[in-house]
Symmetry: C2
């Protein structure tokens, strides 16, 4: 088997810095974790908060701390630093090669979509962002790695897309339509969801949006690990 | 413009864990850094060393420490912990949007290849790995971001490929041949160099090999940031 992960990210219209931070890091016992945080509001202040939360989480994961404990620790640190006045959503998607599972940690009102054998589930149990109280708990799900598994995680920019015009995005329905097509790649899914949201916002995203898509495929070809990054820049 | 980065990695033959660690992280003032370390020997011991070095470096970069200072600090930390008995190579490739430059930091005898306007340069001034003495200094180069710029960084597995058979790999010549072709993507370059090395090692890589390729292209299409990861796994 092979795991493919794709990320697509865009900034709020006319804001140069995204309040979303995303890092992919190796886990000390094998596998990797995608850590995605969205700081309250947008611009540099939000960036500083989401960067702080992501650094805290990846530092703890690197020491072997479990995902849920890392999320709680980041929440407590944010609560202490900002006195409960600033929140930050957090999602951790971990490929744990030791247990052969994907572990989903969510402190985010936005749901996580899990597609498996033609069925799409939205994990949307209530879940609060980090930093709002001393008793924040993550919602944690563990799913066995098997071919065809699709997981979609996103920040609330996707949920709010189109709301200004009264035509909000229905992410689950969009996903169902997409998975009926012939085996879209994770990048195609991520790009398609993001493009859909931007169309609903009439080309001017009302918030930073990040979409992460993980799919488990049968092994195709060699045994190389690969990573690609594309960074549009506006240097003169 | 847009910056595209591709990574291809493979483990030493019959070793389940790579001694190479690579992380891509956002820089606090914009842009990103690719941090690649190769711990001495191979297997879990080497992994622990390269992971420690990479964590140290990305922690410092996150605080705004300059790349060269982060490399020196990681070297001193490794020297102190291992009493000078364990070395680790380090390369940092930073896209600094503030200065509009790529900053290359190298503590690695393996050269860095820089292709610009049809000319290929190998940066191969002497450079020692981290952890071997108290006076380790990185070799630092700064290159203005411009369309067509190509940078290739790799661990010594690529340099040693084919040596067992007395037919070592000439990375510079391989790159020249490749850049004469029509605009290969960074992933094509990385895959091609890695495949070439594995052929020279008769399908059984004698060491962990990691190749990082960065290219600056004219802007193509949208302004999404993208990332993809492919992780081959052998879960039952």
């Amino acid at each position: 088997m092979e795991i493919q992960i794709a990320v697509a990210k865009v900034n709020k219209y006319a804001v140069s810095e995204s309040g979303d931070t995303l890092e992919v890091v190796e886990r000390p016992n094998g596998g990797l974790s995608v850590v995605l945080a969205d700081g309250q509001t947008s611009g540099p202040g939000a960036k500083a908060v989401s960067l702080m939360v992501v650094r805290k989480v990846i530092g703890l994961l690197a020491e072997g701390v479990r995902d849920g404990a890392a999320a709680r620790a980041a929440s407590d640190a944010l609560f202490t630093e900002k006195k409960g006045k600033v929140s930050c959503t957090l999602n951790i998607v971990s490929v744990d090669l030791h247990s052969g599972t994907i572990v989903l940690t969510r402190n985010n009102p936005a749901p996580i979509i899990v597609g498996q054998e033609g069925v799409i589930n939205c994990l949307q149990a209530e879940s609060s962002p980090l930093g709002v109280s001393r008793s924040v708990r993550p919602a944690i799900s563990e799913i066995v790695v098997q071919t065809g598994l699709t997981i979609v995680v996103y920040t609330d920019g996707l949920v709010h897309a189109g709301k200004r015009r009264g035509a909000p995005m229905d992410v689950c329905t969009a996903m169902e339509a997409m998975l009926e097509e012939q085996e879209p790649s994770p990048q195609e899914i991520a790009d398609s969801l993001l493009s859909h949201a931007i169309r609903l916002d009439e080309g001017r995203p009302g918030d930073d949006i990040s979409v992460v898509v993980l799919r488990v495929h049968p092994r195709q070809g060699d045994n190389f690990r690969r990573m690609t990054v594309r960074l549009p820049i506006s240097v003169a």
